[in-house]
Subunit: 261 residues, 2 copies
Amino acid sequence: MIAGLHHTPPRESHAPARASSRLLNTRLWNSGLLSPEELHALEDAVSFERVYRSGSILIREGEQADTVSILLDGWACRFETTRGGGRQLPALLVPGDIVNLDALMFDRLDYGVQTLTQATTIALPRARAQALFAEHPGIARTFTWLAIVENSILSRWALCLARRVAIERLAHLLCELSVRLGGKDEQVSSFAFPLTQEQVADALGLTAVHVNRMLQALRNDGLIQTCNRHVTIPDGAKLRRFSGFDPAYLHSTAAPGFTAG
Amino acid sequence: MIAGLHHTPPRESHAPARASSRLLNTRLWNSGLLSPEELHALEDAVSFERVYRSGSILIREGEQADTVSILLDGWACRFETTRGGGRQLPALLVPGDIVNLDALMFDRLDYGVQTLTQATTIALPRARAQALFAEHPGIARTFTWLAIVENSILSRWALCLARRVAIERLAHLLCELSVRLGGKDEQVSSFAFPLTQEQVADALGLTAVHVNRMLQALRNDGLIQTCNRHVTIPDGAKLRRFSGFDPAYLHSTAAPGFTAG
DNA sequence: CGAATATTTGAGGCCTATCAAAGTGAGTGG
DNA sequence: CCACTCACTTTGATAGGCCTCAAATATTCG
């Protein structure tokens, strides 16, 4: 599955010198492609933290964005809109995710970004990001790795949107989030789920009403339990089977590798 | 729209020394991020051409792929399948497209690749690609650029799948292809369109029967004309308005730029 | 506590899938 | 040159999934 190994993959117990880097729990570091020095270079380039209230719009659709933002805490989403007012979330962002990697290349984004909870971000100015990309091979690899993994995820979302019925889509989303939120692949998993049903609908290409009914169906079938904004999956394998979920496309295991130096 | 400029963008009249590079008409070169030297380095790393018959499977789903392939001629698609037999094409590939950029990072693809016409490809072994990535900043930028543009396209496809009705999706696809096939943004455009209605259905998340009916509707409304595997768009602006198509997401104008390096 | 927001429930209708079969066209072999 | 096959397109009828509209209930938050 993995095409070589660059350096030892990150572990909690194997933190680099500056142990408290805010980037340690982000996908940047978890990609396993950064050397500790490169992590520090990134750390130095990154702005102070910014905290947004739930529902804040970080970037409006089609707006300029001069920084690559990283979500340290809280949830956010990318969104796009059609003339008819239809709203679609091409990505849900959870702690550690890169908000807008596109800003590395484009000065204008195709989508908007909005927080779904209170959220903390840090920002990397594009010029700094590009300089780091040029100077540090591991950073260049990491950005590319992240972009390609995003491709994989978007691709799978397209498959879900196109070829799965509502209840499968919903189940698939819950499986995905369970993994992305750090699920240990255990049978039973549980996580905070701050989205409203309308936001889920926007992500899945459905209406809030129908999401509501499908959630009930999943509950009635014993596939999930919900309790004040938390989701519990009592039998992960069962839900995965039901939704056709296979975590491979997330490439969530670290250490992707890259042999050249 | 563009975040700086790296070198003069490619022009027919400004071909590099080895004027006959097979990569000149590919997205690699058209990205505008390669220096002529880097183009030659890529050229040297790339294998001989391979010609496939229509319908050939280049890569099976989940199969290993040790090379990044580039489509020089003909059409191909990426495809994914659900257990139920549902088929989805996350990407249509036209001449000049990179077939499987993921192979730069992963040794196993999430999708399969199949030709839709007779097609010619060349291949870049992963190890070579990774070495070039490390040695040539422009090549690293180009790969990253391509990955990020693909994200943008996938994102927009997700929007279409989720929030547009069948006839709009179909019209949107035709608008996109018109641009990607090199449409000069003229009012009337015309291009060869080798897909069967079933393949279109697989791309759009519909059935072949329904694609047939929607094609008829577009014809009856005078939005398109079809004639033995060619599509003519008599009024591009009108079709774009109808489908909500805005070409910005394709980032097809060259010279994306990257100041550092 | 009151207002706004989110969830839940119900009824009716549209869009698209499904199933089935006829029509068309290209390529093959006699 | 004509039967024949195979793949694709076209047409029709029916069914189902999801949307839409509307209103009641529950929950959050100032």
